[in-house]
């Protein structure tokens, strides 16, 4: 489904974010990428959603080389990938409903679908009572759940969660992980980056360990070893 083929990313200041990284992700997998800050986890995600481009190698989503996609194709690719960020990245002047509806509208879904699916997905993340609140009226955990709802509302092929628990307390952290696991159980591929040992050990799935821009371990049922 996703394949990183000898991917390198060297920034103009010569710092190396990724150094010939290669690995693949199969459909319905739950893959956790672990590593210290600066290991290259977020860069991997940015390359997949075409937020940045590799300086070497290629990133494939299904059979498409992400680097070669045009603007329209990039928009379409992003609609097939639900992304959850550490800093939530909700639109501040839109309500919870509007934030989620925006992703559906951007994907060209009609008003009836939007009206039906947004409350449904909010129910899944247990936020039905906050539907008309603005992001600044929510706690960190609630905001992240809205971000997850937005990521899954278009029923994407894969959900990418980039350090989704980085700003959360333990209770909210495990709530978010539980939701991601539930999404995976329903058939969606999940790619999670984290440096939280407890989270990694509790998932009991495939773990890719990165250090200084390189993959140093790829374990089918791995643990946090750094």
């Amino acid at each position: 489904m996703i394949y990183y083929d000898k991917v390198s990313k060297i920034y103009p200041d010569k710092s190396v974010a990724l150094d010939e990284v290669s690995f693949g992700v199969e459909p319905k997998e739950f893959v956790t990428i672990v590593g210290h800050s600066g290991a290259g986890k977020t860069t991997l995600i940015k390359l997949l959603i075409a937020e940045d481009y590799a300086t070497g190698g290629a990133v494939f989503f299904e059979s498409s080389n992400v680097r070669l996609l045009n603007k329209k194709q990039i928009s379409k690719l992003r609609r097939r990938i639900g992304t959850v960020f550490q800093d939530y990245r909700l639109i501040p002047n839109k309500t919870v409903y509007e934030n989620i509806a925006f992703a559906m509208e951007a994907a060209g879904r009609n008003d009836k679908e939007v009206a039906a699916d947004v409350p449904h997905v909010l129910e899944l993340v247990n936020l039905s009572n906050k539907i008309w609140n603005f992001p600044q009226e929510l706690s960190g955990g609630e905001r992240q759940r809205v971000a997850i709802a937005r990521a899954i509302v278009n029923q994407p092929d894969i959900v990418i969660a980039d350090e989704p628990t980085g700003n959360l307390d333990p209770v909210n952290t495990y709530e978010i992980i539980r939701i991601l696991q539930k999404i995976n159980e329903l058939g969606t591929t999940v790619l999670l980056t984290t440096h939280n040992k407890g989270v990694v050990d509790s998932i009991k799935g495939r773990v890719i360990t990165m250090e200084k821009g390189k993959v140093i371990r790829d374990d089918r049922e791995g643990k946090y070893v750094l």
Partner: protein, 318 residues
């Protein structure tokens, strides 16, 4: 689908306009100030043109003929003068008309009227009043008249006097001042317009800069450039529309107020001396409202909409 997309873009633009109340207010204030500059240029140009036209209208030369010149010779000369390319118009005043006009003017002054009676005969010469197209052309016309000066049956030149020399100083000054004022006005207008555009452009850029994260999020969830940029353009157009309405109201109010002020300050003297200048602002505003409306609203919408369109582009590269 296109209709649905447009409806959503428009709705989001409207909602953002109201929700970002302070930013919208700031943008409206800045665009209104810029449109007021446009407005003042429009009114100032109208006022200036009217003033210059009035002054130009007051500049002329008169050709006076000897008392014995037959009217036929004067008419012949008037036709020749009319054919000169620099002449705008001419008007002939016969001796009888000159006398009647004098009597009419001084009818209440017994002393002058008595003196006129004592002279007995009509002492006023016939004359031709000449208006040139431009003040700078009077010198050429005067030279032409002096060289052309026809002779009557007795061999005497029929032109007794051309008052160009008396008016020369005023005419020469106006010939220099008027083009300079027009040139300076144009340069000032261009500078003001450029400054206004830069100020509005930077304000809109600042507003969109505050929304750059929002734009990147929209892009990352798969929204197309049109879908992201559209609401900003709609909000920009709304800034322009509101600013345009406010500017037109201010212009209308100012036009009426300034006319009232001129009359209050200078009283009826202005009305009689400079009849063209009285009520010029309000008259110009009401007579040209459709054009002013189009210019102000068009400039507002273009400034707001186009600035938003261009400013948002920078942050779409995600």
């Amino acid at each position: 689908m296109i209709f649905t997309t447009f409806k959503r873009i428009a709705r989001t633009g409207f909602v953002n306009f109201w929700r970002n109340g302070f930013l919208s207010f700031a943008a409206i204030v800045v665009i209104t100030l810029s449109l007021c500059i446009f407005g003042s240029l429009i009114m100032g140009t109208a006022y200036g043109r009217s003033l210059l036209a009035d002054v130009k209208d007051k500049v002329d030369i008169n050709v006076y003929f000897t008392l014995s010149t037959p009217e036929y010779d004067i008419m012949q000369l008037q036709r020749d003068i009319k054919n000169l390319p620099e002449v705008a118009n001419t008007s002939y005043t016969s001796r009888d008309q000159a006398l009647a006009s004098f009597k009419d003017k001084w009818q209440d002054n017994a002393l002058i009227m008595q003196g006129l009676q004592e002279i007995g005969d009509n002492p006023f010469p016939a004359s031709i009043n000449i208006k040139a197209k431009e003040p700078g052309q009077y010198g050429g016309i005067a030279d032409y008249l002096q060289s052309r000066n026809p002779l009557d049956a007795t061999g005497t030149p029929i032109i007794s006097k051309i008052n160009y020399r008396e008016n020369k100083l005023v005419i020469d000054r106006l010939s220099k001042i008027i083009p300079a004022v027009e040139k300076a006005g144009t340069i000032l207008a261009i500078i003001f317009v450029i400054v206004a555009i830069i100020v509005v452009w930077n304000t809109i850029r600042l507003i969109i800069f505050t929304a750059r994260d929002e734009i990147s999020v929209m892009k990352l969830v798969g929204a197309s450039n049109t879908y992201v940029r559209g609401p900003f353009v709609i909000s920009g157009i709304m800034y322009g529309v509101f600013s345009g309405i406010i500017t037109l109201v201010l212009m209308g109010a100012f036009a009426n107020w300034s006319d009232t002020l001129v009359l209050k300050l200078y009283g009826v003297a202005v009305a009689s001396d400079f009849s063209m200048l009285v009520n010029i602002s309000s008259t110009y505003f009401s007579q040209n409202f459709a054009q002013i409306f189009l210019v102000i609203m068009g400039a507002g919408i273009a400034l707001g909409g186009f600035s938003s369109y261009v400013a948002a582009r920078r942050y779409l590269k995600v």
